[in-house]
């Protein structure tokens, strides 16, 4: 299985993502933002970080970089595109997934483990996963998901919410919402479910001695789903 991780100026989770993908069997290539062509891939990942120093709006400059046209074409032809954290911000700026990510409600950079509840397993990312609740890590300043009420209705009608912030037993309540996200939304699909943007970092949970292993479950399941 082939994957590509795009590195933008200011990406800083690209290498972690590379390590994670390799660990679970992907043949991964790092791709520079200024390249025109995407290598042949089964999965493209937009990693976390601070692309272009978060200038203008997080992800806005990266969404216009050269490689993104190939990524958009790849997504529109059904290819799997996963955006984590800054990658999610880039995805919303391209319009591949609906909504925006605003500054966190209490204006703090948040760096901690959170629980997420998987809402929709009828997609290549979460299909066949044994667990409904995972512990992932978040580290962001702009993760406060927002969309218009019309968009929210569409998102809900099409089952596009991928994951919610919850507690460890899967309760989705305001007190477990770290950043003010609308309805505790932590991740969103496009309509076709081949594009997933989420704030939590699965690549930070792939080693028991460092953090946890729920990310391992995610990647193992993902590669099996793609095979």
């Amino acid at each position: 299985m082939k994957s590509s991780v795009i590195t933008f100026p200011g990406s800083n989770c690209d290498r972690d993502m590379h390590v994670a993908l390799k660990k679970f069997g992907f043949n991964n290539k790092m791709v520079w933002h200024d390249d025109n062509e995407l290598p042949k891939s089964d999965l493209v990942v937009l990693p976390g970080g601070f692309s272009y120093g978060d200038y203008l709006r997080c992800g806005s400059m990266a969404s216009k970089s050269k490689i993104m046209q190939s990524v958009i074409n790849f997504a529109n032809s059904g290819g799997l595109v996963l955006g984590i954290c800054n990658g999610f911000q880039i995805l919303v700026e391209t319009g591949l997934v609906p909504g925006v990510l605003l500054r966190n409600k209490y204006l703090e950079f948040i760096c901690k483990n959170v629980f997420i509840k998987i809402d929709n397993k009828n997609n290549p990312y979460f299909k066949n996963l044994d667990k409904e609740i995972l512990e992932f890590h978040i580290a962001h300043n702009e993760g406060n998901y927002f969309c218009t009420s019309d968009q929210l209705k569409q998102i809900e009608d099409n089952n596009q919410v991928a994951i919610y912030y919850s507690n460890e037993s899967g309760k989705i309540e305001e007190q477990f919402n770290p950043n003010g996200s609308l309805n505790n939304i932590a991740g969103i699909f496009n309509k076709e479910k081949n594009v997933l943007g989420m704030m939590p970092h699965p690549e930070r949970m792939i080693d028991k001695s460092l953090s946890g292993e729920d990310g391992s479950l995610f990647f193992k399941n993902l590669i099996n789903n793609i095979k």
Binding site: S60, E93, G99, V100, L102, R103, N104, L107, C147, T148
Partner: protein, 80 residues
């Protein structure tokens, strides 16, 4: 021509920075503030001498990059 544009958050979008600024102003004694909304200001010098065309160019920029129309509105405030 020099075109000036401002970008502000739409009315129904929470502006936490504006809120904090308002609280700080309140603490400094500025008690007569209903609300503070923070925005962005751009001055763009375009290679075009016609004001109408200049406005069009910058509007296009606002629609495509400078503003995110899900949450922001833009306004061209000056062309000179």
């Amino acid at each position: 021509m020099k075109v000036s544009a401002i970008i502000t958050l739409k009315k129904d979008v929470l502006d936490p920075q504006g809120k904090v600024i308002q609280q700080a102003l309140d603490g400094m004694g500025f008690k007569d503030v209903n609300e503070v909304r923070q925005g962005k200001y751009f001055e763009i010098d375009v290679k075009e001498d016609d004001p109408k065309k200049s406005r069009k160019i910058v509007e296009d920029m606002c629609n495509k990059l400078l503003a995110n129309l899900v949450i922001e509105d833009y306004k061209i405030i000056e062309i000179q």
